[in-house]
């Protein structure tokens, strides 16, 4: 087998230029991938914040027992099953209608999935704050909610920010299973080119390279943010 045949100038032409394939499938797919990731991240933060707060409130005070139970079921289901299965159930079973937007379903699925992981990150952040901070807040007269809001969360969020960002970078890669509901994200886009040009190398390697560039860029940003946080560390 001669791998060089896949990288000839004609191959570049038919995989990238012909039918605007690079623009339609690679750039268009990337746009969809970023769109899904972005809104899934927002949903994941909102859900994870709520669930994480409920869970740590239960851990700390024993209150919200029923809500905590519901949250645990949610965490168990989401973390105990593959995200691609969740996505397919969402699309084929729960929404089971051709009118539903695939992008919206993907955002919901990945957001709900990410929320479970974010929740545990938030919870660990809240639990990592010294009990003395709670007591200082309560002894000044703040109630539980105010103490969490003014005193615990700002410190907890700062502590978990890097872990949170890494979770979102992982999410970006996880959206690559969107093709299972025939959604044209970056991965599916590359796969479509492959199926049209019969070139198993160029389109898929291109897809990999684009993911790598985006992930490396984001990772570098997180690294810089971590450094900045450490510099601000005034403890």
């Amino acid at each position: 087998m001669n791998w060089a045949q896949y990288f000839s100038p004609e191959q570049f032409y038919i995989n990238y230029i012909a039918d605007d394939r690079f623009v339609t499938y690679i750039l268009g797919g990337l746009k969809t991938t970023l769109l899904i990731t972005f809104f899934a991240v927002l949903l994941g933060i909102a859900l994870g914040f709520l669930v994480g707060t409920v869970r740590s409130t239960y851990d700390k005070t024993g209150r919200l027992k029923i809500l905590n139970g519901i949250c645990r079921v949610y965490l168990s289901i989401i973390r105990g099953t593959p995200v691609v299965v969740q996505l397919m159930i969402m699309y084929y079973f729960i929404f089971a209608t051709p009118d539903a937007s695939k992008v919206v379903i993907a955002i919901l699925s990945f957001g709900i999935n990410s929320g479970a992981y974010v929740a545990e990150i938030f919870r660990s952040g809240i639990m990592s704050i010294d009990q003395g901070q709670f007591e200082a807040g309560r002894s000044l007269g703040f109630n539980y909610r105010q103490t969490i809001w003014y005193i615990i969360l700002p410190q907890a969020v700062k502590n978990v920010l890097p872990a949170l960002c890494n979770e979102f970078i992982a999410l970006l890669k996880e959206t690559s299973v969107s093709g299972f509901i025939a959604l044209q994200d970056l991965t599916k886009g590359g796969d479509i080119i492959r199926s049209r040009t019969y070139n198993p190398a160029l389109p898929l390697l291109t897809v990999a390279l684009v993911y790598w560039i985006v992930v490396t860029f984001l990772t570098a940003m997180v690294g810089r943010m971590e450094q900045r946080l450490r510099k601000n560390e005034k403890r």
Partner: protein, 253 residues
């Protein structure tokens, strides 16, 4: 220093503790403690570690939930259901062994957060009050610093004035100098001494016997959860009645 305009009527009971009990999982930490703290009184609580003195203090503002007895604060039994514990705690300042300043806030913010959010004091006014208190303890130049930039002694002095910002009726001190390097103990005791001279009601859990002797109106001795005896400091240190106190004093003096 707290609120010099406040009229101090010494002698009226501020906190009445009746038969206070506390156990953790069947382990009795406080056994039937009864005492009265009067307005303007400075009460020191001493005893060996594990004697329950910190637990006693923490029961007074319900950081620990007592398992029995009554605590009357300004006439209300704070263990009654329906008592707003959060409101009550605003009147009881607390200073911790580990300072517990909020590391993500500047010193000024540490001090003004509670009065602004809880008492509705306008921020400018709270800032002014905070600066006046900082000036009194000689730390005005630290107003924009963060807790991590301060020494232990400075942190603890800030913690004291932070509690004073709520204009409490009583100040609870839980081993305020135990986490300090020896050379920093003095500066914290100076602030506490000034407070006592201004007739702030104070309850102090400490191992600083010399300070207790100097500042206290009354010293309570707890041992193994029992309230063994209490006396004015002169009598307490020179003429202990019980064998348990004698043996304790012989170890610490």
């Amino acid at each position: 220093m707290a609120d010099t305009k406040k009229e101090i009527k010494t002698g009226e009971p501020l906190i009445e503790v009746k038969g206070l009990c506390k156990s953790f999982y069947g382990n009795e930490v406080l056994k039937d403690i009864t005492t009265t703290i009067k307005k303007g009184e400075v009460v020191f609580v001493v005893g060996p570690s594990g004697s329950g003195k910190s637990t006693f203090l923490r029961c007074l503002n319900l950081l620990e939930q007592p398992t029995g007895g009554e605590i009357l604060f300004e006439g209300t039994n704070i263990l009654d259901k329906g008592v707003d514990v959060d409101k009550l705690r605003r009147k009881m300042g607390m200073v911790f062994q580990q300072f517990n300043l909020f590391p993500h806030m500047s010193i000024l913010k540490n001090m003004t957060l509670a009065p602004v959010k809880l008492l509705g004091v306008p921020e400018a006014e709270a800032n002014k009050e905070a600066e006046a208190l900082l000036e009194r303890i000689g730390l005005l130049e630290k107003r924009d610093a963060y807790p991590g930039q301060l020494s232990g002694g400075q942190k603890q002095r800030i913690a004291i004035v932070r509690a004073l910002m709520m204009k409490p009726d009583v100040m609870l001190f839980d081993e305020p100098t135990s986490a300090l390097d020896p050379e920093m103990v003095g500066e914290v005791l100076t602030v506490m001494r000034e407070l006592a001279q201004e007739h702030m009601t104070m309850i102090v859990v400490t191992h600083e016997m010399g300070f207790a002797r100097e500042v206290a109106d009354r010293v309570m001795f707890l041992d193994g959860g029992d309230f063994v005896e209490e006396a004015p400091p002169g009598e307490f240190f020179t003429n202990p009645r019980s064998e348990r106190l004698r043996s304790f004093l012989s170890k610490v003096l």
